[in-house]
Amino acid sequence: MDDLLSEFLTETSEALAVLDVELVKFEQDPSDSEILGNIFRLVHTIKGTCGFLGLPRLESVAHAGENVLGKFRDGVVDVTPEAVTLILKCLDTIRELLGELEESGEEPEGDDSALIAELNAMADGETAPVEAAPDEAEAAPEAAPAPEEAASEPFADSGLVLPTADEIKLVQDTFKLAEPNAAGIAEMFYNRLFEIKPDFKDLFKGDMKAQGEHLMAMLKTAVEGLDDLDSITFAVEDLGRRHVDYDVKEEDYAIVGEALLWTLGKGFGDDFTDDVKSAWTTVYTLLANMMINAVNDAGDQAPAEAAAPPTNDFGAPVAQDLLDEVMAAEANGIKAAPEVQLKTEMAAEKAQESQSDESKPAEANAEATQEKVMDESNVPTQAEEMEPANKEESKAPKESAVAQSSIRVHVDVLEDLMTQVSELVLTRNALLQLVRGRDKDDELTTPLQRLSHITSDLQEGVMKTRMQPIGNAWAKLPRIVRDLSVESGKQIDLEMLGADTELDRQVLELIKDPLTHMVRNSADHGLELPAERVEAGKPERGSIKLNAFHQGGHIIIEVSDDGKGLNMARIREKCIENGVATDAELENMTDQQIQQFIFAAGFSTAEKVTSISGRGVGMDVVRTNIEKIGGTIELKSVAGKGSTFTIKIPLTLAIVSALIVECSKQRFAIPQISVLELVRASARSENAVEMINKSPVLRLRNRLLPLVSLKKLLELDKDEEQTAAEIEKAAEAAAEKAAAAKAAAEKAASVKAAADKAAKEKAESEKAEAEKAANEKAEAAEAAAEKAAGEDATEEDRAQAEKAEAEKAEAAKELAEKVKAAKELADEVAADKAKADKEATAKSLSALDEPSDDEMFIVVTQVGTSTFGIIVDQVFDTEEIVVKPVSPILRDISFYSGNTILGDGSVIMILDPNGIASAAGQLDTEEEQEETTAQAVGQEGEIMSLLIFRAGGNDRKAVPLALIARLEEIDMADTETSHGQVMVQYRGHLMPLIPCDPGHEFKAEGRQPILVFTDSDRSLGLAVDEILDIVEDKLKIELASDAPGLIGSAVIDGQATDLIDAGYFLTQGFPDWFGTASQGAFQKKDGTRRALLVDDSPFFRNLLSPLLSVAGWEVITAETADEALKMRELGNTFDVIISDIEMPGMDGFEFAADVRGDPRWKDTPMVALSGHSSDDDFQKGREAGFNDYVAKYDREALVSGLAQTVAGAARGNGAPPVAEAAE
């Protein structure tokens, strides 16, 4: 693609982006002539530039748009949303055409006459008469500012004869008749045409059928548009200009006309009357003349061109050949000469800048750069353009300086640069690592440090070139919101803060879609219709706010709306529907936990699929996209108040700062972005690791921090165990081998002994034999002959004996060697075993060491709102690492986000805190739970008396003092056992003793501290080890527990403490302590009174249920008002309803109003529970329908209040609460 065209594409795309924003602004304030002027100018420029490049289609669309804008400007046409929509549509068409132009390098074929007709109709106003025709000549299609002139003399100056209305009708009617047979007509037409002028055949290449269809379609548009010539002028004139390209001459139109009329005549037969014929003739002549005029007018506008034959390429780009020349000239370096000369002149600097501005990209990069290029000049330029002219006195020179000092560079160049820098950083790291071990005074140190600095600077610099203001990603949003608001009838304000916050363009690209999606969501699901908003007491206009800002190495983007918030009920339903959670699980979750489910796949809560959102692309995609770039997203939603999404993303992706840690001899990198702090915990330090519910937690500044052991998580310890086991196995095998070898050696030894013996015997016997033989021989010789012969014989014998000796020795030697080898083998094996043993011991020792290790390194990590600690073996330093993607085979493991090469060349994994958090279970919501629980409890307040005791181990346990009747110490000697239950006689009754710790064994004697829980006539003793203290503290459950007998853990008096569930122990002593509440059937039982307890805090539900049960109530609990109302739907009835006031979703007052408004529970007495107990609250409660109002902590008052209320209600026979309030 050529340079000029690519410049045009870039320029026009930018203009379109500005236009989108400006138009939305303009619609809100149509009186702002300055914005309109800017819009008009931009469209005008697009149109003007199209002319240079020979893009007639674009030009005609832009012109029609400009026309309407001109009418806006002149105040002739009112600015309506429809009009703006139409202009936006026009811009979209331009954008589309640009897209195709960019792809193919050519303007696509096509027909925009419909859009142009619409625009023109708009320009003429709705009441515009049919004949309000334009007088623009094709080559100078400028907005006609004096339409009345044009209207009076339609087409007169162009010498065209217009058909009458009758003629038009005739033509249209006959065309309609002919239309069904369009293909046949086209064929006939072409046949006839070629018959008249065979030359034409050459013009029509390709599929004649398609050509025919095209012809008929054009004809149809033309015929239908006759009523409003304006609407087809451009299409027809366009066609005329295109004909020039095909070398169609003026006289040819007559031939075509002849063929057309002939064809029509054939087709209609007798129906082709003279009237019809003359009407068609008029129409055809008009169209033909329009086409001819279009060409000739164009010629008139270009005097130099006029002399040339019409076949000259006027319609074709004027700039086309020009550009070739530009390129050629630049290649030849022609431009160099003037440049040098200029330098001496006053304007030299500027001119040169502007020249280099232009020539550089041309030289360096002939390719098109349609993509957003780092060009700071554009944004400021456009921004300043909008400023009032009088403010610009001082700004303009500066602005132009900026414009001139920037160049456009292709994104690929920057990407390459970034890759190179990444490699450089790696190499630098490697060098640093090398030097680290060396002497400080090493001659390498200083240059290396310099290199290191320069590398860092370079890296920063390259990073900067990739930075773009986030506003670029937002540019489309105003338009989208505007379209949405028109479509949905909602009134939406879009507020954008921090648009100039910069971030890496790669990141920017990746968050663009998620952001758009979230804004759509907010507009579609979040915000209510104006009527609903007014009803909810909110301003009619909803608002969506985007806020971006830097926060410690990353960028926070908030998308918030003030709409209705998430529909919790719907999410719950959907959870169950999709099977992501069961009813029971949801029961135990906080709203915030449940809200997070919207990030699960396939989770759209939109009631209906609208054209705006709910198309299956849900928040899961958003989350995936954001997590892909190492970001996190969290959500806060308050019913009726709106939702806020908070996205946290790193500034850049390529190079991150990471903390290097070690675990089980393996190193890992943890991105610094998620590391909050490092803690070295030991038993002696104040940051001790405590075990709660068998899971380790760190008490850090009075907060409990859940811990994850990296070793356990990654199963690194398993690896070790495995190796240990393998070594052991090997050792065993070695031992066996050794034993075998030993046996072999022993055997060998015995064999040797045997062999020795045998050899000896043999040798001896041989010797004996030899001696004997010798003797015999000697004797024989002596006897037989002379002395001399005897000497000979003896010598022979001796030789024989010697030989035998030698043989024997050899055998012995061989054996000895064998034995030696066996022994060596045995030794080796034994050594192996010893070594293996040693290693195994060492391993198991170290394994043993670990849990009891005093010191632990904990990396405190934050993911979203949740904070947790990762236990590692060792912490090294932080390093700038280059992130390489995880290889595909490891991609399924969520713990890793990538890998990197360290300075020493080793490849290590980068841990993904997100993955670790989710893999470590409920961690990612624990904190939120903590927060909400804290809220639930904390709101009400408040300080509470707690009894601290110890039972089983050193853990501190607590129970609300209010539940305990007395503290006693009893003598174990007084206890008795019955049915395996330890009892004591206490105040004339038998009181069972229940150990708080299941492992507790009652001593035979001595004093046993107990906590006494009592009900009117029965008591229960809870045996504990030691009663420590009574403290007053805020009760804040940090970690909820599922263990029986435990409610959860809290920091009480500065220490982690388990809060016990008194109710659990009471039922152990007396299974019927709570009546039949535990069986919980919703059927009313005789004699028991049923109370419905509605409270969102599980703590208070747990606290109050036993209390009420003790008072003789059967208690059924509900977590929310909605849940309570569901029970009503199921037909349950209660004797009294006790409800909390502050609850998420429907609050107590609303709940009461609802209850009173429905006949089913209308007469059920209601008691309000609240931390607040001012008179105002009392009054408000009574008005809402509560019969009584009790402070939450006043259990006496609650019990007595219940009794009174129920009695009162019975007396008054369900008298209306208002009346009661008046009492």
Binding site: A140, A304, L322, Q341, L342, A351, E358, A396, S400
Partner: protein
């Protein structure tokens, strides 16, 4: 060598004009808006100005009027160059002090013809 100041907010058009003018042996200076054009003129008057009408910051007409007030500002030959082609506009431009008026899109021959008419070539 004569200098021609090309004033247009569209870079595409400036590129085209530069090419044409350089072929006609002009030294080309560019300005992206009216304000910048005036700045350039104040530094050194060019022999010719190819002036766009619709521009941000300061439009062509304003430039022309201000230019003509400047001491010596009547010297440069100003060729107005725009798509605004009706008589009204042309008259306005000529009244403001334009020497010649060219329609967009222009090409080399048009420029040559017009520049010849006003004696620049």
């Amino acid at each position: 060598m004569k200098t021609c100041l090309v004033v247009d907010d569209s870079k595409v058009i400036r590129m085209v004009a530069r090419k044409i003018l350089e072929d006609l042996e002009f030294q080309v200076v560019e300005a992206v808006d009216g304000r910048e054009a005036l700045e350039a003129c104040k530094k050194k008057f060019p022999e010719a100005v190819l002036l766009d009408w619709n521009m941000p910051v300061m439009d062509g007409l304003e430039v022309l009027r201000e230019l003509r007030i400047l001491p010596g500002g009547d010297a440069p030959v100003v060729v107005f160059c725009t798509t605004e082609n009706d008589m009204n506009h042309i008259q306005q431009a000529i009244e403001a002090g334009a020497n010649e008026y060219i329609m967009k899109p222009f090409d080399s021959e048009i420029i040559q013809a017009k520049f010849a008419q006003v004696g620049l070539l």
